[in-house]
C-alpha cells in the first residue's frame, strides 16, 4: 500500500493550468521533497492534497482510501496534517492553546459547551508533550504575539505532530529562519519517526536534501524530474529549470 497516490491530477485557475497531469506515489515512511521555481504549483499541489481546493480531474488516494472528494476537515481525521508556508496560527492565544486547538480538532470534545477547556488535563498534557518535542515547553504559557518567527515555525510543526498524522505535509518549514533556527528545525524534522510519512516543499537545498529520500521537481505544474537525490541533482533538466547554470 502506498501512503499517498496522486494520479493525473489537474487544476486550472481560469486559463492558467497550475497543476498539469501530476502523478505522485509516496511510500509509507518516505521523506519526499518537492522542489521547483516560484509559481511551479507546489503549494497548489499541497492545497489539492489537503482538500483546500478541489481538483478539476484526477484522484488522490491516502493509505488506500480515495479522498479526492473528501472534505478538507475529513482528511485531517484520516491522518493528514500540514504546515503553511505563511505561518497560520492563532495570534490571540498562548502557544499552549494553539497546540491544544490542534488536538481538540480531532477530539469529539470540540462540541462540548459545558466543560472547561483548561480543565481538560489529558488534552493539555498532550499539548505540553508536543511542545516538549519541539523544545517550547518552557514558554508554553507565552502569548503567541510575544514569540519569535522561529518559535512560531516550531509551534506550527508541534501542532501538526500533535495530531499524530500518518502523512505530514510541510510547506517550506525553513523559510525565514536564521542559521541556528534552521539547524534546530532540521533536527526536529530528523527526529520525526518513520511511522509518519513526510512530504516537504523547500527551497533551501542545503538542509532539505539531507532529509529527502526522493525528490520531485515541478515546473509549470508538471512533474519534470523524479528520483533519488543523486538522480535528480544529476539530471540536466533540474539544472535548467531550478538549480541554474
Amino acid at each position: 500500500m502506498t501512503a499517498l497516490a496522486v494520479k493525473a491530477l489537474d487544476k486550472s485557475f481560469g486559463g492558467l493550468r497550475v497543476t498539469a497531469n501530476v502523478d505522485l506515489i509516496v511510500a509509507p515512511g518516505e521523506r519526499r521533497l518537492i522542489i521547483g521555481p516560484n509559481g511551479a504549483g507546489k503549494t497548489t499541489l499541497f492545497n489539492l492534497i489537503t482538500g483546500e481546493i478541489a481538483p478539476d480531474s484526477g484522484s488522490i488516494v491516502l493509505f488506500g482510501r480515495d479522498i479526492t472528494r473528501a472534505a478538507c476537515r475529513r482528511r485531517a481525521h484520516l491522518g493528514l496534517a500540514r504546515t503553511y508556508q505563511i505561518i497560520t496560527l492563532f495570534p490571540h492565544d498562548t502557544i499552549l492553546r494553539n497546540v491544544t486547538l490542534a488536538l481538540l480538532g480531532l477530539s469529539p470534545l470540540r462540541w462540548n459547551v459545558l466543560a472547561d477547556l483548561d480543565g481538560q488535563t489529558d488534552l493539555v498534557d498532550r499539548a505540553r508533550r508536543a511542545l516538549a518535542k519541539v523544545g517550547l515547553e518552557h514558554i508554553a504559557e507565552r502569548p503567541l504575539a510575544q514569540t519569535s518567527y522561529g518559535e512560531r515555525r516550531r509551534v506550527e510543526i508541534a501542532m501538526a505532530l500533535a495530531q499524530e498524522p500518518k502523512l505530514l505535509l510541510l510547506d517550506e518549514p525553513f523559510a525565514g529562519l536564521s542559521i541556528d533556527e534552521r539547524r534546530d528545525v532540521q533536527k526536529l524534522l530528523q527526529a520525526i519517526p518513520r511511522a509518519v510519512t513526510v512530504v516537504m516543499i523547500e527551497h533551501n537545498m542545503d538542509v532539505a536534501l539531507e532529509l529527502a529520500d526522493r525528490i520531485t521537481l515541478l515546473h509549470f505544474g508538471e512533474v519534470v524530474v523524479e528520483g533519488t537525490r543523486a538522480e535528480v541533482v544529476a539530471d540536466p533538466r533540474t539544472r535548467e529549470v531550478y538549480l541554474g547554470g
Binding site: A81, L89, F90, R97, L101, R110, D116
Partner: protein
C-alpha cells in the same frame, strides 16, 4: 487555595449591588431603567457570541428579538397561557435562527453583515406590512405579565428580580460557553478559519450552532422586552434596534463577558436618563462613542483594564525611580 480572590470579591459585591438595587436606587423609574439595562444586556450578550467570539457582525438580530416577542404576543392574544406562549416563542425563534444561519452563512465579513441586514429588514417588513397578523404599526398589547410560582411580576421590583434571574442565567451560560471547548473552537474559526478546517473542524457547523445559540438568547431578550413594555410594535425589529445592540457590544468590548453589559448600560442610560436633561442626547451618545473608539478601540471594559494596568505600571516605575535616587535629591 485562596477563597477570597479579587475576582470573587468583585463578583460578590456586584451580586450584592444587583440584589439590593431596588432598595437603594431610588424609585420605580430607576428600577425600571435597571430592568431595561438587564434585558438589553441579554440581547447584547447574545449578539456578542457572533460579533465577539465568532467574528460575524450581524445587523439582523432585532429581527430574531422581535420574532420571539411577536410569537408570544400573538399566542397570548389567542388565549394561550404564558408558559406555552414563551416556550413556543423560543421554539419559533430557534427555528427562524436556523433559517437565518443557513442564509447568512453564505458569506462572511461584509457579505454576512449585508445578508443579516436584509433578513432583519424582511422581518421588519413582515411586522410592519402584514397588518392582519401583526396589527401593523399599531402593534400588539399584552394585558398581563406572567406569575411564575404564584409570584406576580406586575410591580417594578418583582419584574426587576425576574429579569435579574434571567440575566444571571445568561451571564453564567455565556461564561461557561466562552471557556468551553466549543467556545474555543468558535474563537478559532474567527481567527483562522482556514487553519481550523485543516485541523479537522467543521467551520460552517460551528458557526451555524453559534448563530442558533445566539438566536435563542435573542429570543429570551425579546420575551423580556415584551413583558417589560407589555406591548410590541414593528419599531422593535427595525434596523435602529440592531444597530443599538451592535453599539452596546462594540462600545463595551466584544469577546468579553462584561463589555456588552456595560455597553447596554451606557445606551439605556443615555436613552432614558440623559435624554430627560439634554434634548440632543444623541449628540452626547455619539460623542461618548467617538471617545471610546478613539481612546479604547477594543471597547470600554478591556480598554479600562489596559489603562488601569498602564497607570499602575507607570506609578510603580515612578516610585522605584524615586526610591533609587540619592537621599539628598529626594529631600524637598
Amino acid at each position: 487555595m485562596r477563597v477570597l480572590t479579587p475576582q470573587r470579591t468583585a463578583i460578590a459585591l456586584a451580586l450584592l449591588a444587583l440584589l439590593s438595587l431596588p432598595y437603594w436606587v431610588g424609585g420605580t423609574y430607576y428600577i425600571n431603567i435597571a430592568s431595561q439595562i438587564l434585558l438589553w444586556a441579554v440581547l447584547a450578550l447574545a449578539l456578542n457570541v457572533l460579533v465577539g467570539y465568532a467574528g460575524l457582525t450581524s445587523l439582523g438580530h432585532a429581527g430574531l428579538f422581535a420574532v420571539s416577542g411577536y410569537t408570544a404576543a400573538l399566542l397570548l392574544g389567542a388565549g394561550y397561557g404564558h408558559l406555552a406562549a414563551c416556550l413556543a416563542a423560543l421554539v419559533v425563534t430557534v427555528a427562524v435562527s436556523k433559517v437565518f444561519a443557513v442564509l447568512s452563512l453564505r458569506a462572511t465579513g461584509i457579505g454576512f453583515l449585508m445578508i443579516t441586514l436584509a433578513i432583519g429588514q424582511i422581518l421588519w417588513g413582515i411586522a410592519y406590512r402584514w397588518a392582519s397578523l401583526t396589527n401593523g404599526d399599531n402593534g400588539i398589547n399584552v394585558s398581563t405579565r406572567p406569575a411564575p410560582f404564584g409570584l406576580g411580576l406586575s410591580a417594578a421590583p418583582a419584574f426587576y428580580y425576574a429579569t435579574l434571574v434571567v440575566f444571571l442565567a445568561a451571564v453564567v451560560t455565556m461564561a461557561v460557553f466562552a471557556r468551553s471547548p466549543f467556545g474555543a473552537s468558535l474563537a478559532g474559526t474567527r481567527d483562522q478559519p482556514r487553519r481550523m478546517t485543516a485541523l479537522g473542524y467543521n467551520v460552517w457547523l460551528i458557526r451555524y450552532l453559534a448563530i442558533v445559540f445566539s438566536g435563542f438568547w435573542s429570543g429570551v431578550a425579546g420575551l423580556l422586552f415584551l413583558y417589560y413594555n407589555q406591548f410590541i410594535s414593528p419599531q422593535v425589529s427595525a434596523l435602529t434596534t440592531s444597530a443599538e445592540a451592535l453599539l452596546m457590544v462594540i462600545s463595551g468590548g466584544s469577546a468579553t463577558l462584561l463589555g456588552p453589559i456595560f455597553g447596554a448600560a451606557i445606551v439605556v442610560i443615555m436613552k432614558n436618563v440623559v435624554s430627560a436633561y439634554i434634548e440632543r442626547w444623541n449628540l452626547v451618545l455619539g460623542l461618548i462613542f467617538i471617545l471610546i473608539i478613539s481612546f479604547m478601540p477594543e471597547g470600554l471594559v478591556p480598554g479600562s483594564v489596559r489603562l488601569w494596568r498602564a497607570g499602575r505600571q507607570w506609578l510603580r516605575a515612578r516610585a522605584n525611580g524615586w526610591a533609587a535616587r540619592p537621599a539628598r535629591e529626594r529631600s524637598p
